[in-house]
Amino acid sequence: MGRIVLEQVAKRFGDAEVIPALDLEIEDGEFAVFVGPSGCGKSTLLRLIAGLEDVSGGRILIDGADATQMAPARRGLAMVFQSYALYPHMTVRKNIAFPLRMAGLDKAEIERRVQSAAAALNLTDYLDRRPGQLSGGQRQRVAIGRAIVREPAAFLFDEPLSNLDAALRVGMRLEISELHKRLRTTMIYVTHDQVEAMTMADKIVVLQAGRIEQAGSPLELYRAPRNRFVAGFIGSPRMNFIEGEEAGRRGAFAIGVRPEDIALSREPAPGAWEGVVGVAEHLGSDTFVHVHETGLAETITVRVSGETPCAHGDRVWLTPREDAIHRFDAQGLRIA
């Protein structure tokens, strides 16, 4: 079980308010991702839940019990750090066994659990090595192994993939997702990468300056972002924002159109926005066309499925899908 509830949790460092009082519920078995730009307080929030930082106000409930004043070890949570934080002087076996040793389990039980975790993570051949002799991906697996042997109420991941190279990152992302499907244990995952958030999460919590901008399923956030910040943060390439006359005509201060909701044509079309191609990125599966000189915004990005012949300097016409336009008021809030 691992239902985590934050009630009016706040954090101040001296006079600086890092997290103003916030409420959040994470259901048992849920995969929650905290996402936001660097310095948004996502890691601090995770550390508050872990107990590595003391809250300045509010309560943290884990499975209904008030854990606000509990030592990290008593909360029944396991954490995977960005730096892996393995014990360099211990072998892989001892690293994974450490939390079990601290819990006072008997030797046979420890060995059994270490073996089963190692088998699940393909680490059996490395049990007698030290962390220094492992690759980044293997170290990350050891860190995960050390977390799963405890059978914790919830896993906390603090940007666990940011030290890995791109290819390995995708692989580990899938491994962690599968692990979640298999264990059905609550996971809280901190990242600044919205792709990780979209692909892994049951619930995404978008943070900015310590505030929760929106919390919901990936598709909820994608389809109905509550404000311009969330709209711009979720989705890649970014949503295009247009202010002024085009927005006013649609009864909004600003409108947002996702690159995939714009049709691109080489011939003039009625009501289309005219512009000149700045850069066209040909990915094979998609083409991202960055269009200038529309008079609406500095650049409008269009995503065309498949390959489309398009080059710098080409004149193009853009037609947004009217039903896919997001409208925002002057405060940046969504107009329903």
Binding site: A78, L86, P88
Partner: protein, 276 residues
Amino acid sequence: MAREHSPRRKALLTVAAWTAGLLIFFPILWTILTSFKTEAQAIADPPLFLNFDWTLENYAAVQERSDYMRFLWNSIVISGASTLLGVLIAVPAAWSMAFVPSKRTKDILLWMLSTKMLPAVGVLYPIYLIFIELGLLDTRAGLTVVIMLINLPIIVWMLYTYFREIPVDILEAARMDGADLRAEILYVLAPMALPGIASTVLLNVILAWNEAFWTLNLTAANAAPLTAFIASYSSPEGLFYAKLSAASTMAIAPILILGWFSQKQLVRGLTFGAVK
């Protein structure tokens, strides 16, 4: 860019290094040589280098006149116990300064270091009186405490420097893994800081062993360590260079041997953090 030395330059540097090394070592070598001379040869003019009648009579005389083993034992107990006690106190202190620093941590560290700038003789009188009051004069326990206190700032500073090099993530991981403070220090921090702790212990054993001001002033017979043993040979009733040299050689031999075998550790420890 790697620095390449020509063979000539290398030879010159080697000669210069050996010259400097021998120059520094010469007084110790001379002491050791003198300890094997007769008293007459010891003051011969011109001085005799190696062509004298090698004798062990000074050592026999020293052993006969005073109980070397008792002084040695006192030195071992006082330097060992003061270092052990110091480390036990300094580990938690350095832990808190390195990992949970407050606004005052830097000030406290500097204040601790500043106590080393006070001339020891400035506090001799109060400490002497306290020792009389507490009955600690000429006891190993009293001397252990004083020497521990004198070296404590250095122990805390050294450990603080080593601990600072340890990523706090790893200690936090231990906390998440269920380690309490004792387990965190015992199973994670101490093994990782072991090279640092070892050089701290070594340096402090040496400092405590060589400490002469307090050992001479606060001991008489019972708790006197080897420093007092040497001092007892610089008597006013005539100069016995050879015997004094023999006593000195006997006093410095243990620490010289310890230093020789641990030089690698010591050098690593003392230059730790200096080059990154």
